[in-house]
């Protein structure tokens, strides 16, 4: 009886297991960190109670099969997170940040509820599993999927729902860590849950890819412009979420899950470590690279991406949407090799090649391991290559090259006015909401 009830409620599949593992892992690390970091705080105990509730609620959410339970756990998690974010309500800016996030989550929940309602209307099922596998085609399906997509976008701070994330840094550091590693990934999780339905609509996927790439580019640009460490990390999350969405749009859902998992760990670590930002000394990387070094790096990049391919079983010549990921691997591997080849390019080339191939293999491995776990779900479905993907590849490559070859000029020479205007526009676009800025020092409160 209880068993059946539990089965009706939850569904432990690969994605649920992976997400629950991520949440518990991050939760454990962050709690342990916070147990020392938050010492002396007046709400110390309450903080941990809420943290544990949040982790529990998230685990219920990722394993939920019933759409109502999913919705409830989703809302509860977000509500708990907002509570944790505000932390000290006497600090007005923190409270406003929380309100901003809460409004966004509410919007996301509304989208989700309407989407679920439509799905129920189409299928008469309340089980996600049943909906996904028994859904018949209906003209309501596309609106339902768009609503769920909007819910996912709001949760994952995808443009144009990004503002709350950039305004969320009034939270205690451990809360930011858990938010950037856990809750913002909700959108990706939601799309993966309904992936089989999305795979029926290639045009929708192409749209998702576009929105994803756009957010990825904006997020990265803003990240590179920020001068405070936490907003830099937040903008970077934005970019990463965009890329994850783009991976969904490519039909490569397991790759998106891999991205979500590894980014979560990486970003949680960077937030917890943000106190050392002042000690991080940046080194001159000698941009623009010399032509020989750059050619060598491209060679290494090619070798690295082949190694990546070899593990992930994709192929340069397959001519499907996985090409985008291979190009990203190629660009990253080239960039990796650049510092190695900066001096004594020819002598260092063999070493650089070996290193890049090793890194490419490791990179491939860490993506592939998730793909293997998720294999039974059959969600790795590369789409036919279209001009949209090619445009995406061009955008990813062009921005990379632009930074490599033109950034140094900005430091010493005058720039054309469109660039100056672009700088100011981007700077303003990446500001937190002004009501969440502590414009008067004494408005800050820690009690």
């Amino acid at each position: 009886m209880v068993d059946t009830f539990l089965n009706w409620l939850s569904h432990w599949d690969a994605i649920a297991a992976l997400m629950a593992a991520l949440i518990t892992f991050i939760g454990l690390s962050v709690s342990s960190f916070a147990s020392r970091y938050m010492k002396g705080d007046t709400t110390y105990r309450l903080f941990f109670v809420q943290l544990i509730l949040l982790i529990t609620s998230l685990c219920i959410m990722v394993s939920a099969d019933n759409i109502i339970l999913l919705l409830v756990a989703w809302s509860l998690s977000n509500a708990l997170l907002v509570r944790l974010m505000i932390h000290k309500a006497s600090w007005k800016a923190a409270q406003t940040s929380g309100v901003l996030a809460a409004r966004n989550y509410l919007l996301s929940t509304c989208f989700m509820a309407s989407g679920f309602a439509l799905l129920y209307a189409i299928t008469h099922h309340t089980s996600v599993n049943a909906i996904v596998h028994h859904a018949t085609s209906s003209e309501l399906m596309l609106p339902a999927l768009i609503l769920i997509l909007l819910a996912a976008m709001a949760q994952s701070a995808i443009w144009p729902f990004h503002r709350w994330l950039l305004s969320s840094l009034n939270s205690p550091t451990p809360v930011s860590a858990i938010m950037h590693a856990g809750l913002v990934n909700g959108g990706g999780f939601l799309l993966v849950r309904f992936a089989p339905l999305y795979l029926r609509y290639p045009t929708l996927l192409a749209f998702i890819f576009c929105i994803g790439i756009m957010t990825a580019l904006c997020g990265t640009l803003w990240k590179l412009m920020q001068s405070d460490v936490k907003r830099m990390l937040a903008c970077s999350t934005l970019g990463q979420m965009g890329f994850m969405l783009a991976q969904c749009g490519l039909g490569l859902f397991p790759a998106a899950v891999a991205h979500l998992l590894w980014h979560g760990m990486f970003k949680a670590y960077l937030f917890l470590e943000s106190g050392s930002a002042a000690q991080e000394k940046r080194f001159d990387l000698g941009y623009p690279p010399k032509l020989l070094a750059f050619m060598g790096a491209l060679l290494c990049g090619f070798a690295g991406s082949v190694a990546f391919d070899y593990i992930t079983l994709n192929s340069w010549v397959a001519g499907d949407s996985s090409l985008v990921l291979i190009v990203v691997a190629f660009i990253a591997a080239s960039q990796f090799a650049l510092p190695l080849l900066r001096f004594n390019t020819v002598q260092n080339l063999p070493v650089a090649l070996v290193c890049t191939v090793a890194v490419g293999l490791f990179y491939g491995f860490s993506v592939h391991v998730v793909a293997v776990i998720m294999h039974p779900m059959g969600l790795m479905q590369p789409q036919p290559l279209t001009y949209v993907h090619i445009l995406g590849i061009i955008a990813l490559g062009a921005t990379w090259l632009a930074l490599l070859f033109f950034r140094h000029r900005a430091k010493t020479s005058n720039l054309p006015s469109w660039m100056l205007k672009g700088y100011v526009t981007a700077l303003n676009a990446s500001q937190p909401h002004s009501s969440t800025v502590t414009a008067h020092r004494n408005h800050y409160q820690y009690l």
């Binding site: 009034n170 939270s171 590179l224 980014h263 080194f283 990203v328 950034r407 414009a439 800050y444």
Partner: protein, 739 residues
């Protein structure tokens, strides 16, 4: 309503000339105490600009300037935009795509960008024109804005002062950059006070044309701040109780006949040295002395391998010599160079992939799992993580001993530094076979305030470098010969050894140790002292621990990335004692006293005492007031809680999304919990063991002492050497005998 009143104003603003504007601005900056960047946090009195006033008046005025609950509502938007532009202009290496045109200077670059700032002009044609037609010179822009805002000439200084004090932290940074930043900050972009004020005024003119109302707001605030200052009353009670206790203890101490101990160790005057000295003295026949941690050498120290360079002297002094430091042998040099190159390569690869377009997506996917595992180890097993980290760093670049090259300091300078240092401490005879010069520094992880725990006398850096220089000087035969001519005879067998005391772990590292047997027992005793002190330190942290584990537990605090209170720094500092160690050696001063060694008998003219009172004592007062005000109001004068801080531009800290630059110390440095202060707010009490007449002459001649003691920013007690009577210096410079 928000229209600019341009038509009423003649456009050139010419009747205020450049000199007038510069003068007004210099005056308006008087209230802004400088604030040093995170790379060398120097303690400073946040009310430094008000020290010319009696403290009662200063506190009331400071309340009106810095502690107001609210600002006029329109000021918030002005602050928001100012913060936005300051963040990007002042950035010292965080942004990969920094603000363009910075090499032109602050105002010039901003002027070219501001025309595009829709948050300033709000697409209003008139405002856009105003921005486009801004004068080229900041001074002219200021003159123009003052007219637009209709500020009367006699209120210029007051208005500009308010423009600065309504965003006090960032103004402090500008004050630092324009008044105190040294040559080693040459990588930063130029900044002038006029630039900043011009930008601030232009933003105000655009967003709050009636900014003149600020003057009325301030007048009301001043009236509201006149009520009795309860904080001061409380402070006085605590001070008196402490003073009575301390002086009673000091009065009973005998000065014993001097003898030659097994070793002498010279520590920094820092309050943390006192505890360690006491612990060490209990382990054997050691004599310890206190001296400013830069050992009197005004040097800029440059590492020949990394080319990193820093001024290792108090900020009141400019470095006179650039001393190169390198590993001791050519081979070690070569190894260190290779190690450093390896380190740079590894970091460069990471940074190259992290700070670029497109590549970060692959970066997180490939090293996400590693950083996750590392995060878990650091959080759940900080001890293991620390060992791994240390081993990894050693594997990449092995720590090498360094030695200074003295060729940039002339022999006569070397001789005078050596002579002055010894004489100032009254340390001119009974030299032991080993004399250790011990600087200090801290070890903490993931801590924006790391340098606040380092040596203030060394410009907020580790003090080992300065110690190495003086030790090298004092070991030179020629210098010793010169000292003999001046009546200081150091035995040929005596060796000076440089060392560094780690104030977080109490480990003392000896440098370039000579091959003498005495060192071994000294090492053992230093180890023992570390154990004693670690236990005391953990008690103060409220941590219960067994004696056996004390060393390792204290060590863990230094290496735990989640630790917000690695050590208490100079918290609870209360007094500055100038005199021989015998006065204090058998007392438990609880790590609350700066101790400067001094023998009045060797200083008949009072020259050394003058130096002590006008340099180390003043630095002590800066430290004392920083702790004091950070404790009294951690929001207005401190940095707030570490748990929400956000490092901006690698130079300072904001709270959350963005805020004023949070100057002062964080909550966790002075409070043991959100509500419980650990530091005790009281003003520095200086106790001098010297004749009253000598002190009188010195105080009369020194304006800085007049200011601090006369206005009640510090207190002074004279302890008469002959009969041990105590006299407290009144604010009117009369002496009051204490019973």
């Amino acid at each position: 309503m928000d229209q600019l009143h341009m038509h009423t104003v003649n456009h050139d603003g010419a009747h205020y000339d450049t000199h007038y504007i510069q003068d007004v601005i210099a005056q308006s900056f008087k209230n802004s105490a400088p604030f040093w960047p995170l790379k060398n946090l120097i303690a400073v009195n946040p009310l430094q600009g008000l020290e010319h006033l009696p403290i009662e008046q200063a506190l009331a005025l400071a309340n009106a300037y810095f502690q107001q609950k609210d600002l006029p509502a329109r000021m918030y938007a002005v602050n928001c935009e100012t913060i936005k532009w300051l963040q990007v202009y002042c950035d010292d290496g965080q942004a990969t795509l920094p603000m363009p045109l910075r090499h032109h200077g602050m105002y010039t670059s901003w002027r070219q960008l501001a025309v595009y700032d829709a948050r300033l002009h709000k697409h209003d044609k008139q405002k856009q024109t105003f921005l486009r037609e801004l004068p080229q010179a900041a001074e002219e822009a200021i003159a123009q804005c003052l007219e637009y805002l209709r500020i009367a000439k006699e209120e210029h200084v007051q208005f500009l002062t308010l423009m600065l004090t309504t965003l006090p932290g960032w103004s402090s940074h500008v004050a630092y950059r324009t008044k105190w930043a040294r040559a080693d900050e040459s990588n930063l972009y130029p900044m002038r006070q006029e630039d900043y004020v011009a930008i601030r005024l232009i933003i105000s003119t655009l967003l709050w044309p009636k900014a003149k109302e600020l003057l009325d707001w301030h007048k009301k605030a001043v009236v509201g701040s006149q009520s009795a200052n309860t904080a001061l009353v409380k402070m006085e009670i605590a001070e008196k109780a402490y003073r009575t206790r301390l002086l009673q203890k000091l009065a009973t101490q005998a000065i014993s006949a001097s003898h030659t101990p097994a070793a002498q160790l010279i520590f920094c005057i820092d309050v943390r040295s006192e505890q360690f000295r006491k612990s060490l003295e209990s382990t054997g026949d050691y004599q310890t002395l206190g001296f400013a941690g830069f050992f009197g050498i005004p040097a800029q120290i440059t590492n020949v391998i990394t080319h990193e360079s820093y001024a290792s002297c108090p900020v009141l002094i400019s470095p006179k010599h650039t001393v190169k430091e390198s590993p001791c042998s050519p081979r070690a040099c070569e190894n260190d160079k290779k190690g450093y190159e390896r380190l740079v390569m590894l970091k460069s690869i990471y940074q190259s992939v992290k700070y670029a377009f497109t590549t970060p997506f692959a970066l997180v996917e490939s090293i996400g799992i590693l950083s996750g595992v590392w995060m878990a180890i650091r959080s759940l097993m900080p001890r293991v993580a620390a060992h791994i980290k240390i081993a990894a760093v050693e594997a990449v670049r092995k720590t090498q001993e360094l030695e200074p090259r003295l060729d940039t300091i002339s022999l006569s300078d070397q001789c005078s530094y050596a002579l002055n240092a010894l004489k100032m401490m009254g340390f001119t005879s009974n030299f032991a076979p080993i004399i250790v010069l011990c600087g200090h520094g801290s070890t903490t992880q993931n801590n924006a305030y790391e340098t606040a725990l380092d040596c203030g006398a060394c410009g907020g850096r580790h003090g080992g470098g300065s110690a190495r220089i003086l030790a090298a000087i004092l070991n030179q035969k020629k210098v010793r010969a010169h000292l003999i001519q001046n009546g200081i005879c150091i035995p040929q067998t005596t060796r000076f050894i440089a060392a560094e005391h780690n104030t977080t772990t109490d480990e003392v590292t000896l440098y370039n140790v000579p091959d003498v047997p005495e060192v071994e027992s000294l090492r053992a005793h230093l180890q023992k002292a570390r154990a004693i002190n670690s236990q005391k330190r953990l008690e103060k942290m409220g941590e219960k621990t067994q004696a056996l584990r004390a060393v390792s537990d204290a060590w863990l605090r230094a290496h735990d990335w989640a630790q917000v209170r690695p050590e208490w720094g100079l918290a609870r500092n209360a007094a500055f004692i100038v005199g021989p160690r015998d006065l204090t050696a058998s007392l438990d001063l609880e790590g609350r006293c700066f101790l400067h060694s001094y023998d009045y008998k060797k200083d008949p003219q009072g020259a050394y005492l003058t130096a002590i009172l006008t340099a180390p004592m003043v630095v002590g007062q800066w430290i004392n007031t920083q702790y004091l005000f950070s404790t009294l109001d951690n929001v207005a004068y401190g940095a707030g809680s570490k748990i929400t801080l956000n490092i901006t531009g690698k130079l300072g800290v904001m709270q959350g999304n963005a805020s004023d630059l949070m100057t002062g110390l964080p909550l966790q440095s002075v409070y043991s919990s959100d509500t419980q202060a650990y530091h005790e707010a009281q003003r520095l009490l200086t106790v001098v063991f010297a004749p009253q007449a000598l002190l009188d002459t010195i105080i009369q001649a020194q304006p800085v002492l007049h200011k601090l003691l006369g206005n009640g920013w510090a207190q002074l007690v004279c302890m008469q050497p002959d009969d041990r009577t105590m006299y407290l210096l009144n604010r009117d410079f009369t002496w009051q005998r204490l019973s």
